[in-house]
């Protein structure tokens, strides 16, 4: 099964040593940022002397001004809205279809083993290569960006959902069958609660990958959106605004990723069995704890 490549940060230990370490970490980060800014300014200044092509590395304050103008510009929000709309619709469609397919594959061994090689093959392929097909099928408007977003969201969610289904404690499934639960109740009362964590992991990855998918589609062909905006600035050689849009996109992507990470941490805390959690922990346990 294709691994989605989850990369997690570790958490330092507690105590006085931690405070000292925290201080060192903060200093390292601060020095790195200062060093990066200094290096950038050196390169930008070298451009003024013709050592490096002048306009390609503008000074930091030019970029800062460009960022300010972007966030004060109505057209930026129009483009942001288009990208956001394409992202949300694409992500929701792709995720819902992926969860449904993942549940189906998870409950059906033969179909799963038959389909997984093909899903892995397409899943590991750069999705951008399907853009010509998407443009042919959905046209060049926002629909194609939504379709690209759906396609991007589908694969990480379907793989993690399938894995989550396979790892559900068989005891829980037998309990459900003992109570003669119908298919819908099995899904809502046994499967979904049991695989919340893997599904959220998939959704978290899906959010990040959908952002990339939508932006890349807008770069190639669009009439609006942040990717389109970036492309326009590049074509017109407006470098500082181009950097400004890139920075804003990165900030938004980081915020989305951070939001999903917090959601996952919250779910993990909710699911973790602790003495203080009591009933909630036991209720969670009956819904399928022990899923890794």
């Amino acid at each position: 099964m294709a691994q989605a490549g989850v990369i997690k940060a570790t958490v330092p230990a507690t105590g006085a040593a931690e405070r000292s370490m925290d201080g060192r970490v903060s200093r390292i980060r601060l020095m790195t940022v200062i060093g990066f800014i200094a290096l950038w300014e050196v390169i930008a200044t070298l451009g003024s002397y013709g050592i490096f092509y002048n306009d390609v590395v503008p000074h930091i304050w030019n970029i800062a001004i460009a960022v300010f103008y972007e966030i004060m510009s109505a057209s930026f929000y129009r483009d942001l809205g288009m990208t956001f709309a394409a992202h949300i619709v694409g992500f929701i469609c792709g995720a819902l279809i992926a969860i449904a397919v993942g549940i189906w594959l998870g409950t059906n061994t033969l179909i799963r083993e038959a389909m997984l090689p093909y899903l892995n093959a397409i899943g590991s392929t750069p999705k951008i290569i399907f853009l010509p097909i998407i443009f042919l099928m959905f046209g060049v408007g926002i629909e194609s960006k939504m379709a690209k977003g759906s396609m991007s969201a589908f694969f990480p969610v379907v793989f993690t959902t399938t894995l989550g289904m396979m790892l559900i404690n068989p005891v829980l499934i037998r309990v459900g069958r003992t109570y003669n639960l119908n298919k819908w109740h099995m899904i809502t009362k046994i499967y979904m609660p049991a695989m919340v964590n893997p599904v959220i992991t998939g959704l978290r990855l899906g959010v990040a990958i959908t952002v990339i998918g939508v932006l890349v589609a807008e770069l190639k062909f669009a009439d609006g959106g942040l990717g389109y905006r970036l492309g326009i600035y590049y074509e017109q050689f407006q470098i500082a605004p181009m950097y400004a849009v890139i920075l804003l996109i990165f900030a938004l992507a980081a915020a989305a990723n951070s939001g999903m990470t917090r959601l996952q941490d919250r779910v993990n805390r909710h699911m973790a069995p602790t003495t203080t959690k009591g009933k909630k922990a036991r209720a969670s346990a009956s819904a399928g704890l022990g899923i890794t």
Binding site: A2, G5, L110, A114, S124, I128, A208, L230, Y243, A254
Partner: protein, 250 residues
């Protein structure tokens, strides 16, 4: 027993063939527009044309070579950097979060910036492929070394093993499976980024071919080129999966 074991493969193949036949009939009947989805038979038959017009095999090696170069660069930078992050705990803690965040950001969007800085050439593509490849290698190298069992380390210390031997004979072999996972993820992301930028910039190997065939409105050939990219990605994914299994048989 053998028949049951092979059933999924047969079912899968049958499923693909059934879809292909259904699609062929749909296009023939006009239910599906031929200019949007060509007949599967036309797609298969267009491979020789794509080879003659676009040298798909040659361009496969162009993409492969750039991926290999970018991966090598990622290993040269990523492995030592990951080791550094492991050895210097403060730096590891300082940078790992940033690296994890950078891994999930759309680095491919930086391509106009790279084109502007380095020009439209193979070096730019290799650089753009190297960055998303180096990040997981560095992170997983650190994680792999941090994850070495304390018991193994204590055993080494009890035998008064030197620092060098400790690393070579205990830490590294123990960390290799995790490091290799990072390499596998790195290679896949390198390939994905390189093909993506080839497509966006109309420069390079397989990605460029897909873009140009689409521009020429050669639809069956476009689908053939897309299939070729799927085959390449599958080959990489399967190949590295086999190597990983060999390294980590359990």
């Amino acid at each position: 027993m053998n028949k049951l074991h092979k059933m999924p493969v047969l079912v899968g193949l049958f499923g693909v063939l059934a879809c292909a036949v259904l699609l062929e009939l749909s296009v023939n009947s006009g239910w599906v527009m031929e200019i949007i989805v060509p007949r599967p038979s036309d797609t298969i038959l267009s491979f020789p044309i794509v080879q003659e017009d676009m040298d798909i095999v040659g361009n496969f090696f162009v993409t492969l070579a750039m991926t290999a170069a970018a991966t090598l660069l990622a290993l040269i930078i990523g492995l030592p950097f990951g080791y550094f992050l492991y050895k210097r705990e403060a730096y590891g803690l300082a940078y790992e979060g940033w690296l994890a965040a950078a891994f999930s950001t759309p680095i491919v969007l930086l391509y106009p910036l790279f084109l502007v800085l380095f020009g439209r050439n193979y070096h730019t593509l290799i650089l753009m492929g190297f960055i998303p490849g180096a990040i997981p290698i560095a992170i997983q190298t650190r994680q792999g070394l941090l994850g070495v069992s304390k018991t193994l380390v204590n055993v080494g210390r009890s035998f008064n093993v030197s620092e060098q031997d400790m690393f070579r004979k205990i830490m590294l072999p123990s960390a290799v499976p995790t490091i290799f996972t990072g390499i596998r993820i790195g290679v896949m992301y390198t390939l994905v980024n390189i093909v993506a930028i080839e497509y966006l910039t109309d420069f390079g190997g397989l990605g460029r071919i897909v873009s140009q065939l689409y521009d020429n409105f050669s639809i069956p050939e476009t689908y053939a080129a897309i299939l070729a990219v799927i085959l390449v990605s599958t080959f990489f994914y399967w190949g590295f999966g086999r190597i990983e299994k060999w390294l980590r048989p359990v």
